[in-house]
Every structure is written in C-alpha cells, then in structure tokens.
Amino acid sequence: MSDAQSRIAELVKTNHIVLFMKGTPLFPQCGFSSRAIAILDRLGAPYQSVDVLADLEIRQGIKEYSDWPTIPQLYVKGEFVGGSDIMMEMFESGELQQLLGADA
C-alpha cells in the first residue's frame, strides 16, 4: 500500500464519520462539498473533515481508494457511503440519519 493509501486507511479507520472535501466546513471551496457539509451540520453528528486541497497526495489517493472520481466523499465506520448526491438521497429518505445516528 502506498503512503497515501495507508494514510487514508488510517483516517477512515480512526474516525467514525469522516468527510473528504474541498476546503473546510467553514469555507467549503466547491458547491458539492458545501452541500455535503450542510447535510452533516443539519444532522448534528460530530464529524472529521479532511481538506484535499491542502494535500495533493490525499486528493489523488482518495479517488483510487474508493474507485470514485469526485470529491466530497463520506465515510462512516470505515465504509465509503458516497458523494454529495448519494448523501442527499439518503438524507431525504432518512437513511443517513439512521446510519450516522446508530452510535454517533
């Protein structure tokens, strides 16, 4: 495993909820990341965020890690959940609340 891949694996493993995004929760740098943050804030579950713009290795590596071409990416309990569109669908159907609330 490359350095980036093992760093990602560690982040995903050690944080219950982690969002890889562009920018920070306070200053998201992309509409999709902004939408993902809005959903997480609305649900009120504590989460860790990783700014991929501040780390090019992670930015490239996360796409390979999940075989997913875009950012943001949400991971819960070590599992890839999806990007902002899937988060929105799951939020609207109540699935995301359930997933995050399970033992958040």
């Binding site: 997913w68 071409p69 950012i71 999806g82 569109d85 899937i86 669908e89 799951m90």
Partner: protein
C-alpha cells in the same frame, strides 16, 4: 472545460443501452449538469455501484473534463423512483 449534454447522453447510452437519460444544464454554461439515469441494469446494485456504472460510462471524464455532474440513478418503476 465544457462538454455537450448530447455527448454525455450518448456515452451513457453507449455503455448502458436501456438507460433513460435526462440531462439538465444547471448553469447554462455547458459545464454544470444534473443527470438522471434510469436503467433496469441497476437492479440489485447499491447506489455506489449505480453511480460507478455511470461514471465508467463517461470514461474518466467525471472529475476532469466534466467538473460538475449531479447524478441521480434509479431502477424503472421501483418504489424509490420518484
């Protein structure tokens, strides 16, 4: 970099022949699209797999040439197909 909506639709249908594709140009700039793709081939696939199938159809353009593609996938006539 811009990409025509017709090209997005063509690529998706090329890979997923039964797909019903609806595309909206969100900003009118040929660079921010929303696509809804309905196909029976999605049956039994997780949402992640469904989206990955569409991304694969677009042959690496998503996240590159095609920056913003809001994606929604569904199986025809399913309960969750709103």
């Amino acid at each position: 970099m811009a990409m025509a909506a017709s090209e997005i639709e063509r690529l998706i249908k090329q890979a997923i022949p039964d797909a019903e594709v609806t595309i909206r140009d969100l900003a009118g700039d040929g660079d921010h699209y929303a696509a809804r793709v309905v196909s029976s081939s999605f049956e039994g696939m997780s949402r992640i797999r469904q989206h990955q199938a569409v991304y694969a159809a677009l042959e690496g353009r998503v996240g590159g040439e095609l920056h913003a593609l809001q994606l929604e996938t569904a199986v025809p006539n399913s309960e969750t197909n709103q």
